[in-house]
C-alpha cells in the first residue's frame, strides 16, 4: 500500500509540475530518475539548447530522485496510465535495472534506429542492461564509473589490486573508508567489485545466466569481506566518503568519478587527491534516454535525444560541464572537445584502464543476492 500511496503522491507531484507548464505551446515532458545534478543538466543546459533550436517548444523536466528508487517512480507512473491513448511523459532518463524492466513490460518504444546518433553508441551497455536485451530502446546519456580515491601526500604507493588493498588496510587500520551497502551506490559498487575479485564466476555474475544456487559458494568471499570490514572506517554516504577524505579522517575510499571531479572543479575537494582503478576492476553504469511506448510527443522526443547524444552536446554538456564519461563512444566525442578537457577526464584513469577494468554491475537477480548475502553474512 505504501507503494500505492507513494505513487499517488509522485503522480500528483508530476501532474502538478507538468500542469503548471501547460500554458506553453508545445511542452516536451522529461522525467529524470537521477540526482539533482542530472535535473540541473536539463534545466540549465540541454533544455534551453533544445528550445533555442526548436522554437515553440518548451522543455519541462521533473526529477524523481536518484538510484533505482527514482526510476521505479517513473516506471510506476507510466504503468498507471498504460490504458490511456497517449502518455504524458515523452522522454525518460532511467537506470539500467529499471530500463530493462520497462523493455520487458513493453512500456518503451524502439527509436534508436530512427535517429542519426543511434549508430554512435556501440558499447555493450547500449545493447544489454544487466542481462536484459535493450538494443534499439535506449541511448546512454552518460557513463559513470566508480574508482578508489586516495591522497597521494599520505599514500605514496597506493594498492593496485584488491589483494594489495587487503594488505594495505591490515597495515593501516581505519584509513580506508567506504559506505557499506545501505548508504549509497559507491559502497554497493565496492562490494560488487569485491565479489568480482573473490567470489569466482565473475563472467556469470555480469552476463548470466542466473543461477540461484551460486550464492551458496560465496561464503569465503563474504567472510573475508567481514574480516576486511574490521580494518576500515564506515562513512555516511557517497558524499560522506569525500567529506571524510577532505577532513583527513580517511585517506582512501571508493567514489563516483563524476562526483569526484565535480567537487574538485568546484573547489570542494582537496585538489591533490587522485583516482585509481584497482585490479580486477570496479563497476560503473550508464543512465539511459528512452521514449515511452505511447509518448504524446514521440517525434520531438527523438529530436531531443538526438540532440542530447550528438558529439557536440556530449562533449560540452556531459564531459566538460558535468564531468561524466560520454554516453556515446568516446572517439566521436574526443574530436569535438579541446585536448585539455579531454586529458583532465582521463588523467588518473586512462581510456585503456576504463576499457579493461570498467565493469558493469551484476545481473539483476545476482545483484539482489549479493546485497542480501552481505546483509546476512557481513553486516549481521
Amino acid at each position: 500500500m505504501t507503494s500505492k500511496i507513494a505513487n499517488l503522491f509522485t503522480s500528483a507531484a508530476l501532474a502538478l509540475a507538468i500542469g503548471s507548464m501547460a500554458q506553453a505551446e508545445n511542452v516536451l515532458n522529461v522525467a529524470s530518475g537521477g540526482s539533482q545534478n542530472m535535473v540541473d543538466y536539463v534545466t540549465d543546459y540541454l533544455g534551453p539548447l533544445f528550445e533555442e533550436q526548436n522554437p515553440g517548444w518548451e522543455v519541462n523536466v521533473v526529477g524523481t530522485g536518484p538510484g533505482n528508487a527514482g526510476s521505479q517512480a517513473i516506471l510506476e507512473k507510466i504503468k498507471a496510465q498504460a490504458g490511456n491513448e497517449t502518455w504524458d511523459t515523452d522522454v525518460v532518463v532511467m537506470t539500467q535495472l529499471k530500463s530493462g524492466e520497462m523493455v520487458t513490460e513493453g512500456l518503451l518504444q524502439k527509436y534508436v534506429g530512427d535517429i542519426e546518433t543511434g549508430k554512435l553508441a556501440t558499447r555493450d551497455t547500449s545493447k544489454s542492461a544487466l542481462g536484459t536485451d535493450v538494443e534499439g530502446y535506449v541511448m546512454p546519456m552518460f557513463h559513470s564509473q566508480t574508482a578508489i580515491a586516495y591522497n597521494p601526500d599520505l599514500v605514496s604507493n597506493p594498492p593496485a589490486s584488491f589483494d594489495e588493498l587487503k594488505t594495505w588496510t591490515a597495515e593501516n587500520k581505519g584509513a580506508f573508508g567506504y559506505n557499506g551497502i545501505k548508504n549509497g551506490m559507491s559502497g554497493v559498487a565496492f562490494t560488487a567489485a569485491w565479489m568480482y575479485a573473490y567470489a569466482g564466476n565473475t563472467d556469470q555474475l555480469m552476463n548470466g545466466p542466473y543461477d540461484p544456487e551460486l550464492k551458496n559458494s560465496w561464503d569465503q568471499a563474504l567472510n573475508d569481506l567481514k574480516a576486511f570490514n574490521e580494518n576500515v572506517t564506515f562513512t555516511p554516504g557517497n558524499a560522506g566518503t569525500l567529506d571524510m577524505m577532505n577532513r583527513g579522517e580517511i585517506v582512501m575510499g571508493p567514489v563516483w568519478v563524476d562526483m569526484f571531479y565535480t567537487w574538485q572543479a568546484d573547489g570542494r575537494l582537496n585538489p591533490n587527491l587522485k583516482l585509481l582503478l584497482p585490479e580486477p576492476g570496479m563497476p560503473g553504469q550508464p543512465y539511459y534516454y528512452a521514449v515511452p511506448a505511447k509518448a504524446e510527443n514521440a517525434e520531438a522526443a527523438r529530436k531531443f535525444i538526438a540532440l542530447a547524444t550528438s558529439p557536440e552536446v556530449q562533449a560540452e554538456g556531459i564531459v566538460k560541464r558535468f564531468n561524466w564519461y560520454p554516453g556515446i563512444d568516446a572517439q566521436h566525442v574526443e574530436s569535438a572537445l579541446d585536448q585539455e578537457t579531454w586529458n583532465k577526464l582521463f588523467t588518473d584513469v586512462t581510456p585503456e584502464d576504463l576499457a579493461a577494468k570498467g565493469k558493469p554491475f551484476p545481473l539483476g537477480p545476482f545483484f539482489d543476492d549479493i546485497r542480501e548475502a552481505y546483509e546476512q553474512k557481513v553486516s549481521n
Binding site: 500500500m1 505504501t2 507503494s3 559506505n179 555516511p236 554516504g237 571524510m244 583527513g248 546483509e375 549481521n380
Partner: protein
C-alpha cells in the same frame, strides 16, 4: 445550537481525510505485512526474514530511542526546573531565550549540522583540541549510535522542556513557597513538589518524542554509518534496493507494535483523567 446531523457534517472532511490518508494506508500496510508476494499466499514469511536480517536493528532502535527519551526527560526537567526555581536573572533570561532554538530546525538539517560537528576532525573535536584539552590523535568520531542519541536529544529536548516549563509555570506557587519556608532545598522542591505535579505533562511530552524519534529516517541515515542501524533505514533500503514492500511492511508492523505499547500508556493516562488525553 448545532444539531447532531450538522455537527457530523462539519467534522466529515476531517474524518474522510483521516480515513483516506491515515487509516486506510495504515490498515493496508499492517495487512500486507502478512502477504507473501513471491508465492502469492499469506503468512509470516516477511516477519521471519525481518527477524533473520534485522533483529539487531530492532533491538538497537529500541535502545537508542529509549535512551534518548530518558535523557530528554532528565534535561527537560532540569531546564523547566531552573526556569521555575532559578534565581539568577541573567541565567534565566539566557536560558529562556536559548533553549527553544532547536525546535525550529528540521531533523534533516540537524543531522547535516551534526555530521560536520561530531566528525572525527569535526568542529567539536577541533575546538577541544585547540583549547589543549585533548591531543589531536585522541579525537574520535561520534558518528555512530552516540551521534544519533546526541541529535535526538538536541532536537527533542526543547519540545518537552517547553511543555514541562509551561506546566511548571502554571503550578500553584504557594506549595513551592510553603516548602521553601520550611527550609527545603531547591532540588528537593523540584523532585518532591514540582515534578510530581507535572508528571502527566512530562509523560505526554516524552511519549510524543518517542513516537517522533521512532519515525525519523534522515538522522540515522546521515549520521550512523555503522551496523546495526535503525529500522527506518532498513525499511527504506528494502523498498529502494529490492522493491520489497513485504519485509518493509513487516518492519513497519514491528515499529507500530513498539509505539503501540507507548500509545496504550498514553491513552490509559487519558482515561484515568476523565476520558480526555492530555
Amino acid at each position: 445550537m448545532i444539531t447532531r446531523k450538522a455537527s457530523l457534517f462539519l467534522i466529515a472532511p476531517a474524518i474522510i481525510l483521516l480515513g483516506c490518508l491515515f487509516l486506510y494506508p495504515l490498515g493496508y500496510s499492517l495487512l500486507w505485512a502478512f502477504r507473501d508476494e513471491e508465492f502469492g499466499g499469506w503468512g509470516l514469511q516477511n516477519f521471519a526474514k525481518a527477524f533473520a536480517l534485522y533483529s539487531n536493528d530492532v533491538l538497537f532502535t529500541l535502545i537508542i530511542v529509549t535512551l534518548s527519551t530518558a535523557i530528554i526527560g532528565v534535561l527537560s526537567v532540569a531546564i523547566g526546573g531552573y526556569l521555575t526555581l532559578g534565581e539568577n536573572r541573567v541565567a534565566l533570561v539566557v536560558l529562556r531565550w536559548l533553549y527553544r532554538w532547536p525546535l525550529f530546525i528540521p531533523f534533516v538539517v540537524a543531522a547535516q549540522l551534526m555530521r560536520t560537528f561530531l566528525a572525527k576532525n569535526g568542529m567539536m573535536n577541533n575546538i577541544i583540541v585547540s583549547t589543549g584539552l585533548m591531543e589531536p590523535l585522541q579525537a574520535a568520531s561520534y558518528l555512530d549510535w552516540r551521534g544519533i542519541v546526541i541529535t535526538f536529544v538536541w532536537k527533542q529536548t526543547p519540545f518537552v522542556a517547553l511543555l514541562v516549563a509551561g506546566a511548571m509555570a502554571s503550578l500553584d506557587r504557594s506549595t513551592i513557597e510553603a516548602a521553601r519556608n520550611l527550609g527545603a532545598s531547591r532540588l528537593r522542591i523540584l523532585f518532591e513538589i514540582v515534578v510530581p505535579q507535572v508528571a502527566t505533562t512530562l509523560m505526554v511530552g516524552l511519549i510524543l518524542s518517542y513516537v517522533v524519534m521512532m519515525s525519523v529516517l534522515s538522522v540515522p541515515l546521515m549520521i550512523n554509518a555503522q551496523t546495526p542501524t535503525m529500522i527506518t533505514v532498513d525499511m527504506a533500503w528494502r523498498i529502494n534496493a529490492y522493491s520489497d514492500y513485504g519485509v518493509a511492511n513487516a518492519l513497519g508492523f514491528i515499529s507500530y507494535a513498539m509505539t503501540a505499547v507507548i500509545a496504550w500508556v498514553y491513552l490509559r493516562q487519558g482515561v484515568r483523567e476523565g476520558g480526555k488525553p492530555a
